[in-house]
Amino acid sequence: MQSLGAFDEELDHGKSERGLGWNSDGRSLRAVAQRRAQGLGAFSLGLGLAQLLAPRGVARLVGLPDTPRSRTVLTLIGMRELASGIGLLARPGSASWAWTRVVGDAMDLALLGDAFTNKDAEPARLAAATAAVLGVAALDTASAAHLSRNESVQKLVLPIHVVKTITIGRPPSEVYAFWRNLENLPRFMAHLESVTVQNGTSTWRAKGPAGTTIEWQAEVVMDRPDEAIGWRSVEGTRVPNRGVVRFQPAPGDRGTQLRVELKYEPLGGALGATIAKLFGEEPAQQIAGDLRRLKQVLETGEVLHSDASIHHGLHPARPAETNVRINELGKADS
């Protein structure tokens, strides 16, 4: 068992911030990578323009002989730089455009290497130019690799971190007891099918799309009667998640102020996509709905249904056809 403070700290700043998508101050790493790609794009644009407008000056700068052939090569390189620059500025998040710069760098290095064999070239300037291209190439490769990784992160599920509160007109001891019996959770949590507890480990089953079921194991890692419950998925589970729920007396004899904090780790692949669908586009709203149903169960005895709310999606507010069956959570079986 951990103390509440230590558990909170882990929840807020702990291992779950492994950097897949977010840096320490919560800014998207993707945005950082995009800004860098934009910088490189601007650099391409400037270099390309210089090569097109002043090929002689550029040739002198890098130590190439001022011949028609080197001017033509520089003009072609300039056009390539312009294309890369425009591409990167227009789509700074695109890894493909970033990789065009890396390919260009390799081409430039090959041309520079070839130029060392030219008797009319200036080796000192060529060496300086090669060093500069090597530096830029390192930056380009890092940027392109980062963008590629971000593109695959996009396909992963970003961490879901939700904090929600509600006031329930029952004493904290009662609300705590109801939640502590984890098998009650599916009575108000829309995405859960069942929770079963055996030997201190709970097995959670959730409905996935198209009749699939996802399952994971969790354990209670903090238990303060009438005050708080913290749980965490067991090591190696397919759905890493953790949460803490707190029960405080509401002022003025209004029952319990319940605060729940949940965190789901990012996941890749089909399973990640399934988890994303479970929570929809607004996980906070779904958790809020869960808490509202909990309040209904504890204050009125059951989840309340309306003619429209039993259906998935929009449906006119009129009685359902007689063959529609409704489950405990108030949804019509489709």
Partner: protein
Amino acid sequence: MKANCWMGKKRVSVENVPDPKILNSRDAIVRITSTAICGSDLHLYNGFVPTMEKGDVLGHEFMGEGVEVGRGVSNLRVGDRVVVPFPIACGHCGACRAGSTSLCENSNPNAYLAEKLWGHSPSGLFGYSHMLGGYAGGQAEYARVPFADVGPIKVPEHLTDEQVLFLSDIFPTGYMGAEMCDIEPGSVIAVWGAGPVGQFSIASARMLGAERIVAIDRFDYRLKMASEKAGATDVINYEQSDVYETLMELTGGRGPDGCVDAVGLEAHAHGPMYAVDRAKQALMLETDRPLALRQAIRACRNGGTVSVIGVYGGFIDHFPMGAVVNRSLTIKAGQCHVHRYLRPLLDRIERGEIDPSFVITHRLPLSAAADGYDMFLNKVDECEKVVLKAA
């Protein structure tokens, strides 16, 4: 069963829909004998309330006979004759225990929609948009009534449907409008809007002991009903005289002690401001046009109370906050907490202090609901209140 459905702006039609059934243990199914079209239904009809779906069953003023009772309802039996309050209330949450049933915290399954617009959600209502629960309404042959152990009130056989039907909404709503004015002996109360709710505010102000009650409207037949039936001592037709000047004349320049806005978001008025608000509403620059409310605030005496029972849905412009602050006005508002008024107002009806049927001008079969909406909206044949007979 047959039910009157919202089919789009200015379109309602009686359709065949499935019969309702018990969905929760505290439900009851009521076979509806009488139902009515409310002024607030006209806001739905005119398309001013968001989150309506084509096919929604309308209606929130209804009564009838219990035909099926859920296992969690011990105080009602099949065959009981009941009037059903329009807000749906669980009876157990903080708001219900405080008597504020139109703020029930458990009866709106779509609370998140209301929270987006208003910050918090009120209770669910029958037949009044998905934002307020997505419940089928009572302009139908049958209705499912959730929390039937809390809402419906049994009514004695010797009272007719028409005498008790309006306990469902407009009588308690009008009463609450008057009650919020904290009427004392000598009070002068002005009521904007002599529609059915305004009539009941006037009648209630009279029962609560107001000395003078001024009715304000633009239809003489409504003002006539206000003075002859409801008990208004004075009337103002705002198309013929200036409301502010007339009220000052009537009150020795003080202004009314209490001002009731029984008009709401589709107010009419004289003058250029009306055109401005109509235009803004049409362009979606404001959702509601608060012409009556502005007048009420301007006219109210220093330190007086403005009581808002007309329906507003969204946002208004040119709200005279300066008058409210500098003249110490109190503004009270709310959807009626019908449950708390049912028993005392039924008692008043039984004692003969009021016969609410005085507002009824038209009785139609449920099948003619569409005609009823049109008559009520366009004031055809001096229409004041339409009752639909389901049976």
